[in-house]
C-alpha cells in the first residue's frame, strides 16, 4: 500500500501542533522545518501549514550553485547539505511554494524533508501524526478519496510553468490542477496598497 502526503489548508485551525511536532523529529534536532502561514492576515484568521511539496523537478535544487540540495530515490528533496551550502538563499527565493528558510545562525538552508528518517521506514511524518483536524494527512490515497469531498491534486501552474509535486494538495470543485496567478495577485496587492490600506 502506497502512503502519500496530503495537505488540506481549509482544515487548518492554526493550533501550531505540526510546527512544534516537527521539531520533535529525531533528525531535525529541535528545529522546526515547517511553518504556519496566514492566508490573508488582514481579513481572516485562516492559517495554512507550509510543508515542502517535494517537486518532481525541484527548482530549489536546480538553482543551487553549490550542488547542496539533493533528491532521494523516493522523491524527497532534502535540506541543503551543511558542508556545501554557501547560504546564498537562491533556493529560498526560487521556491514557488515559499518553503525553504535560510537559518543565519548555522549558515544553512533547512526545509521540510517529510521526516525522511520516519517515512523511509513506513512511519508518518511527525506533523501528520499530531494534526488534530486532518489538515495534514499521511496515508493511502484510497482512504482520503473515500472520506473527503475535496480531491487531491499534485499539479500546479505558475504562469507557463507546470510544477508537479510528490505531496498532494486537497482542492474543491473537482479541479485537476491549481493555476496560481502570482502576477495578478501581486498587481492586486499593489492596487490595494495604492488605494490606501490604512497601514
Amino acid at each position: 500500500m502506497t502512503m502519500e502526503f496530503f495537505v488540506d489548508p481549509s482544515r487548518c485551525i492554526g493550533c501550531q501542533a505540526c510546527f512544534h511536532a516537527c521539531a520533535e523529529c529525531e533528525s531535525h534536532r529541535g528545529l522546526s522545518m515547517i511553518h504556519l502561514d496566514f492566508v490573508d492576515r488582514s481579513s481572516s484568521p485562516q492559517t495554512t501549514p507550509t510543508v515542502c511539496m517535494h517537486c518532481e523537478d525541484p527548482t530549489c535544487a536546480k538553482v543551487c550553485p553549490a550542488d547542496a540540495i539533493k533528491q532521494t530515490a523516493e522523491g524527497i528533496v532534502q535540506s541543503a547539505l551543511k558542508p556545501r551550502c554557501i547560504g546564498c538563499s537562491n533556493c529560498v527565493l526560487s521556491c514557488p511554494f515559499g518553503v525553504p528558510r535560510y537559518l543565519p545562525a548555522q549558515d544553512q538552508m533547512m526545509k521540510c524533508d517529510m521526516c525522511y528518517d520516519r517515512t523511509s521506514v513506513g512511519l508518518a511524518p511527525m506533523c501528520a501524526t499530531v494534526c488534530p483536524s486532518g489538515a495534514l494527512y499521511y496515508g493511502p490515497r484510497e482512504t482520503i478519496e473515500k472520506s473527503r469531498r475535496e480531491t487531491p491534486i499534485n499539479s500546479f501552474t505558475f504562469g507557463r510553468r507546470v510544477v508537479k509535486t510528490k505531496v498532494n494538495m486537497m482542492v474543491g470543485n473537482g479541479a485537476e490542477e491549481l493555476d496560481i496567478d502570482v502576477a495578478s495577485f501581486m498587481l492586486g496587492i499593489r492596487g490595494w496598497q495604492e488605494k490606501g490600506s490604512g497601514i
Binding site: C64, P65, D67, K70, Q71, A73, V162
Partner: protein, 167 residues
C-alpha cells in the same frame, strides 16, 4: 500563449540532483577523468622539462665569484660556499697543494646535503646512503643516478674563484 507550458530546458543541469546519480560514476566519466589526468601529467612533464631547459640557458652565463682564499682550506678538508646563488650550497675540496675541486652539495637523488669523507675520498649522502667520487663527482653507490654538478674553478694567486657550473 499564456497558458502554453514551457518547453523543457534544453541545457543539462550543472549538477546531478538525484542523490543516487551523485554516487554513480559512469564508464564515460571515468574514462574522461583518466584521459584528462594522464594528458595533464604528460603535458606538465613536458612543460617542466621546457622550463628547466630555458632556465639552464638563461643561467649559462655565470658571474665569477670569489669563494675562498687558498689558506682558508687545509689539504683534505672542505669549505662550504654558495654558488651561483645563495640557495645553491657547494663544497670546495682541497685535494693537494694546488689541486682544488668543487661540487654542488645537493645530492642528485633528493637534494639532501652530501658530506665530504676525506678518508674514503668520496661524498656521502646520509639520507639514502648515496656516494659520489671526489675526483669527478660520479656516482659510486646508492640511489642517485646523476653525478654531482661540478663547479668550475679558477685559482688566481691566493684566491679561488668559481666561474661556472658543469652539470
Amino acid at each position: 500563449m499564456t497558458n502554453q507550458p514551457l518547453t523543457p530546458n534544453p541545457h543539462p543541469p550543472a549538477f546531478p540532483i538525484p542523490w543516487e546519480d551523485e554516487q554513480t560514476v559512469t564508464r564515460r566519466n571515468f574514462m574522461s577523468f583518466v584521459l584528462l589526468l594522464s594528458t595533464t601529467l604528460l603535458a606538465s612533464t613536458g612543460l617542466l622539462g621546457l622550463v628547466n631547459w630555458f632556465q639552464r640557458r638563461s643561467t649559462a652565463q655565470f658571474t665569477p665569484a670569489l669563494i675562498a682564499t687558498v689558506n682558508d682550506v687545509p689539504i683534505a678538508s672542505a669549505k662550504l660556499f654558495s654558488y651561483p646563488t645563495a640557495h645553491d650550497p657547494c663544497l670546495l675540496i682541497r685535494l693537494a697543494e694546488n689541486q682544488f675541486v668543487a661540487y654542488s652539495q645537493k645530492c642528485t637523488h633528493l637534494s639532501c646535503p652530501v658530506i665530504y669523507q676525506a678518508q674514503k675520498n668520496e661524498f656521502f649522502c646520509p639520507c639514502h646512503a648515496g656516494r659520489f667520487a671526489v675526483d669527478d663527482g660520479r656516482v659510486l653507490g646508492g640511489p642517485p643516478q646523476r653525478p654531482l654538478p661540478r663547479i668550475l674553478l679558477n685559482v688566481k694567486g691566493h684566491e679561488v674563484w668559481a666561474t661556472g657550473v658543469h652539470v
